[in-house]
């Protein structure tokens, strides 16, 4: 009787451990941020790319319209792929596109803008990558759609035709 109880306890313990590990197999161990999070736009200051003037974020996202913040770099190949899609949003009513140039070389960044076009109304500099961290970003490219000081949609990785369509629907 006593032996049976011990066997049952041991078996149930192993089944319990097995189930936990089995469930764990299905969990991804790669970080995935949630793509729609109503977070407030972080406060930060950064130098502007062309004027080299210190700008405060509170003076950027302060109007009643949509803002698209795109983190990009000239060395980032996926940024090159998504650039035509961002260009297609240029001039869209009620949308202002802001660029955050991430850990880049000024000369290369200027060449990138000259070669592929400038969809941004403002480009901010993030030489050491700390501003991107304020946004909760962990790589390039990343894009945030902002309305009334809140991040309403986040795109990790390059934008594509589907995401552009989604942005157009969201800002209608």
């Amino acid at each position: 009787m006593k032996n049976n109880t011990i066997i049952i306890i041991v078996i149930s313990f192993f089944i319990f451990v097995f189930l936990i590990f089995y469930k764990g197999l299905n969990n991804s161990n790669i970080y995935k941020p949630s793509d729609s999070e109503n977070k407030i736009v972080p406060k930060f200051s950064a130098y502007s790319f062309f004027e080299n003037k210190l700008i405060n974020s509170e003076n950027i996202f302060n109007q009643k319209k949509f803002y698209l913040l795109n983190i990009w770099a000239s060395w980032c190949l996926p940024c090159r792929d998504e650039h035509p899609f961002i260009m297609s949003l240029k001039g869209t009513n009620k949308l202002e596109i802001i660029g955050l140039n991430y850990k880049d070389n000024d000369k290369n960044a200027k060449k990138f803008i000259n070669d592929y076009g400038n969809p941004y109304s403002k480009i901010l500099l993030d030489k050491d990558g700390t501003r991107a961290i304020e946004w909760g970003a962990y790589g390039v490219p990343e894009t945030f759609l902002i309305f009334e000081n809140q991040i309403i949609k986040r795109y990790v990785g390059p934008l594509n035709s589907d995401s552009i369509l989604e942005i157009k629907i969201l800002i209608k």
Binding site: S34, I133, E134, G136, G139
Partner: protein
């Protein structure tokens, strides 16, 4: 007077050095508990990826700004979620994680204790 000034200067130099050392220790302690999100199985402290280098700088700046260890964790958890911390917080999702080893230890201890009493 000159000697007093000299001693004061030496004292100040050494005290600044110790403040700096404390800051570096705290920075290392915090970054060792942060998961590098783009490199598998490495802490921010161990990694030399772009993301980890920037995060180390952010932690350093926050310490300089006077934020405590807890406040820095809270800031980063708000940005990246609990996943960024190696040491999970004690909440309803982690009760089993924290208590199971203790329960198993008590259960095993009780068995050993009972056996010892029986032997006596």
């Amino acid at each position: 007077m000159k000697t007093a000034k000299f001693i004061l200067l030496i004292f100040l130099i050494f005290s600044f050095h110790s403040v700096k050392a404390d800051e570096t220790d705290l920075q290392n302690k915090i970054t060792k508990n942060l998961r590098c999100l783009i490199c598998q199985g490495q802490s921010v402290y161990d990694s030399d990826s772009d993301f980890a280098i920037s995060l180390k700088l952010v932690v350093k700046n926050k310490i300089k700004d006077g934020l405590s260890e807890k406040e820095i964790y809270a800031f980063l958890t708000e940005k990246y979620g609990e996943w960024i911390l190696y040491d999970p917080k004690f909440n309803k999702n982690t009760y089993i994680l924290w208590f199971l080893p203790l329960l198993i230890f008590l259960f095993g201890g009780a068995i050993v204790f009972k056996k010892l009493i029986n032997i006596k």
